[in-house]
């Protein structure tokens, strides 16, 4: 069983970039000497460590190619044997299949983010203010009077 401290977190960093390879990203982390555990995977990296450090590292990596590097949390620490195929007796963990599907969509998502950035920022739909209580009262009274 991997020894884990309560406050440690793990992030999956998926790299769908023409400019950055997972190995580049990993090198960046090694050079930065952040006290985190890094595991290279076919999609990118898995980073485990104290929350603050992991967040800083992921921010750093994201900057390498902001719209083409994607991050999500992971429940299990990097290399946890409960999720390791060899220990578990073959077959990938269930979440792997969906991640694989999503990874195929990432280049299109990245392009969309690029386009979004190039254009005007997306306008949020005009926010409606809440109805004032006095106004609501007026409506209710008008309805009742009908």
């Amino acid at each position: 069983m991997t020894d884990v401290k309560q406050e440690e977190i793990t992030k999956v960093i998926v790299i769908s970039s023409d400019k950055v390879l997972p190995v580049d990203a990993a090198m960046r982390i090694y050079e930065s000497e952040f006290p985190v555990t890094v595991k290279e995977t076919c999609f990118g990296l898995i980073v485990t460590g104290p929350a603050e450090e992991v967040l800083a590292v992921t921010e750093e990596i994201r900057k390498l190619d902001k719209n083409h590097i994607f991050v999500k949390d992971r429940g299990f620490p990097a290399g946890d044997e409960r999720r390791c195929r060899a220990v578990r007796g073959g077959g990938p963990r269930p979440g792997f299949h969906f991640l694989r599907e999503e990874v195929q969509m990432l280049s299109a998502i990245g392009t969309a983010l690029d386009e979004l950035e190039a254009k005007e920022p997306v306008k949020s739909p005009a926010k409606k203010d809440k109805l004032k209580v006095s106004e609501l009262e007026r409506i209710i009274e008008a309805e009742i009077a009908r």
Partner: protein, 149 residues
């Protein structure tokens, strides 16, 4: 910053976009983390113990199978915390935490029963739909309140 429930609950794309646009994704991974990194590990692999299906009774009655209630013990608290939600229908695969469709029906129902802003959209069938997919999600996220500001 709003706490946004995402469906599929383990989606990389949704979790990333929510965080990228300044909100907090309520993803199942964090729940799993809490389970698997507890000091006393007594029910590998994901430490769902026989107690969890009992916790799940909060969301579903005893005649509902344990697999549904065990999953709800993980996901139910996220729904309770949610201040907004993005529900993507027809994801390409659904395994593990979202491998049981009865659970998925129940969790989406519970989200929809809450009085919170919800964006419902389809998983892009092809790359050309990805742009619209992203734009809709971003517009929705931008419309959510950011309390700290």
């Amino acid at each position: 910053m709003a706490k946004v429930f995402i469906y599929p609950v383990n989606s990389l794309i949704l979790a990333d976009l929510v965080e990228r646009f300044g909100h907090k994704p309520l993803a199942v991974m964090n729940q799993v983390r809490e389970k698997v990194t507890k000091i006393s590990l007594d029910s590998p692999p994901i430490n769902i113990t026989p107690e969890d299906p009992k916790i799940g009774l909060r969301y579903a009655a005893v005649e509902v199978p344990p697999g549904v209630r065990g999953r709800m013990a993980l996901i139910g608290p996220l729904i309770e915390d949610a201040e907004a939600a993005i529900i993507v229908s027809d994801p390409p695969t659904n395994f593990g935490c979202v491998g049981c469709n009865r659970t998925n029906e129940l969790m989406k129902y519970l989200v929809r029963s809450k009085d919170i802003p919800i964006l419902e959209l389809r998983y892009p069938e092809a790359e050309e739909y990805a742009q619209e997919f992203v734009y809709k999600i971003v517009a929705f996220l931008e419309s959510l309140p950011r309390e700290e500001e």
